[in-house]
C-alpha cells in the first residue's frame, strides 16, 4: 500500500513537472526575435514645413529621451512572430524633426549657434490599444523649448495618431503597421512644428522678456514618464 502511494505521488509530481515544462516552453518559443523579414523601416517621407516665425531662428535638437517605460521599444507588435522597428524610436523622432527643420533651413549647425534648443521626451511610439478591428498608431512626446541665452524654457506637447485597417495576412499586416506608424509620426511632427504651442513658446522665449504665461510655465525638472 505505501509503495502504491509513493508511486502515485511520483507520477503526480512527474506529470506536474511535465505540464509546467509544456506551459513554460511555448512562452519562451513565442518570444519574437528581430529578423529582416519582420523588421519595418519608418520614414517621415515629405518633411513637414514649419510655420513662419516672427524672426529667423535656428533650432537645435539636443537629445531625445525615451520616457515610455517600454522595456522593448523596438518591438511594436508581439503577435504573429512580432514586428520590429529598424531603429530606436528616439532616433526616428530625432530624424523626423531634424529632417523637417533642415528642409525649412531652421536647423542650426551646432548647439552653440542655435537660438532655440529642444530637448525631447518621448512618451509613446508605436501601436496603442485600439479596437480589435484595426491598428491604432500613436506617437506622443513633449519638448522642452529652451532659449540658451536667457536659460528660460517652456514645455510643448505633441501627439500624432493614425488608424489603419487590420489585416489577415502577415505581409499585409506588417505593411499596414508600417504605414500606420509612419502616419502617426508625420502627424506628431506636424502637430509639434505647426502647433500654436511652439509658435507661442518661441515668441515668448525669443523676446527674452521673462513674461511667461502661468499655464505654460515649464517645470523645474523634465517631465516624468506617464503611467502605462
Amino acid at each position: 500500500m505505501p509503495l502504491r502511494g509513493t508511486l502515485r505521488l511520483s507520477i503526480a509530481v512527474l506529470s506536474l513537472a511535465a505540464l509546467c515544462g509544456l506551459t513554460i516552453q511555448p512562452a519562451q518559443a513565442d518570444e519574437p526575435k528581430p529578423k529582416p523579414e519582420n523588421t519595418i523601416t519608418i520614414q517621415l517621407g515629405q518633411p513637414v514645413p514649419p510655420p513662419k516665425f516672427e524672426r529667423p531662428l535656428k533650432f537645435w535638437i539636443a537629445d531625445v529621451t525615451d520616457r515610455s517605460g517600454n522595456p522593448q521599444p523596438m518591438l511594436v507588435m508581439k503577435e504573429r512572430g512580432g514586428v520590429f522597428l529598424d531603429k530606436q524610436p528616439t532616433a526616428l523622432v530625432k530624424d523626423a524633426l531634424d529632417q523637417s527643420l533642415k528642409a525649412a533651413n531652421l536647423l542650426a549647425a551646432d548647439a552653440a549657434s542655435a537660438d532655440i534648443v529642444l530637448r525631447v521626451y518621448l512618451f509613446h511610439f508605436g501601436l496603442a490599444s485600439g479596437s480589435v478591428l484595426d491598428f491604432f498608431g500613436k506617437v506622443e512626446f513633449s519638448a522642452m523649448v529652451k532659449n540658451p541665452k536667457t536659460g528660460e524654457s517652456l514645455e510643448v506637447r505633441a501627439v500624432g495618431t493614425s488608424i489603419a485597417n487590420g489585416a489577415m495576412r502577415k505581409k499585409n499586416m506588417q505593411k499596414n503597421v508600417e504605414e500606420n506608424i509612419e502616419a502617426a509620426l508625420r502627424d506628431a511632427t506636424r502637430n509639434f512644428l505647426r502647433g500654436t504651442q511652439l509658435k507661442d513658446a518661441v515668441g515668448t522665449l525669443a523676446k527674452g522678456s521673462g513674461v511667461v504665461p502661468v499655464a505654460a510655465t515649464a517645470p523645474a525638472e523634465p517631465p516624468k514618464p506617464q503611467p502605462r
Binding site: 490599444s129 479596437s131 495618431t161 493614425s162 506636424r190 502637430n191 502647433g195 500654436t196 504651442q197 509658435k199
Partner: protein
C-alpha cells in the same frame, strides 16, 4: 426592338450617373478636432478619449467633409479660418451595461450606452454651426474602443447632415428676395 433595348440601356446609364456620388469639392478647408472631455461620474479610461479622438479624425478624413483634418492646437492660415471648423465636445453619460441582463433578457437590455455632445464652430468668428447629440448602444461584451468607433462614425454622419442642411438654409436665405 433593338433601338428600344439600346434606349433602355442608355436611360439606365443616365439614371445611374445622376444617382451616383457627386465629386464635389469639400465645403470646408480644415477641421480641428479636440480631445473630448468627460462629465463628472463618467467612468471611461483616458485611452478611450485618445482613441475616440483618433477615430473621429479618421472618420472625418474618410467622409471627405473637409479638405484637411488637422491635429489639436495646430495653426491655420488666416485666409483659411472662415472655411475652417473646430470640433469639441464631451461625453455626457456612460453606462457600463450588464452581461447577465443582456444574456437573459436580450432585446437591447443591459447594453452599454454612451451619450456624447459635440459643438462645431467656425474658426474665424466662433459661430456655432451645429450641435450634435449622439447616443450609441453596444453589446456589453464588446470592447469600449468598438463603441468609440461606432460613436465617431455616427457623429460624422450627423455632422455631415447638419452642415449640409445649414448650407442649404444659408443658400436659401441668400437667394430670397428682400
Amino acid at each position: 426592338m433593338r433601338i428600344f433595348t439600346l434606349s433602355l440601356v442608355a436611360l439606365m446609364f443616365a439614371i445611374g450617373a445622376a444617382a451616383g456620388p457627386k465629386n464635389e469639392p469639400p465645403q470646408y478647408k480644415t477641421a480641428e478636432t479636440k480631445h473630448f472631455t468627460t462629465a463628472e461620474g463618467v467612468e471611461l479610461s483616458p485611452a478611450f478619449v485618445d482613441y475616440f479622438y483618433a477615430e473621429l479624425r479618421n472618420e472625418l478624413t474618410k467622409a471627405k467633409l473637409v479638405k484637411e483634418v488637422i491635429g489639436e492646437g495646430e495653426a491655420v492660415e488666416d485666409a483659411d479660418a472662415p472655411k475652417s471648423l473646430v470640433i469639441s465636445g464631451a461625453v455626457t453619460e456612460y453606462k457600463k451595461g450588464s452581461v447577465v441582463k443582456s444574456a437573459l433578457i436580450g432585446f437591447g437590455a443591459g447594453f452599454r450606452s454612451l451619450k456624447m455632445d459635440a459643438d462645431v464652430v467656425r474658426r474665424s468668428d466662433k459661430q456655432n454651426l451645429c450641435v450634435i447629440h449622439i447616443h450609441v448602444k453596444i453589446d456589453p461584451r464588446w470592447n469600449e474602443k468598438v463603441m468609440a468607433k461606432g460613436a465617431a462614425h455616427e457623429m460624422v454622419k450627423e455632422m455631415k447632415k447638419a452642415l449640409a442642411e445649414g448650407a442649404k438654409t444659408a443658400a436659401g436665405e441668400a437667394t430670397k428676395p428682400s
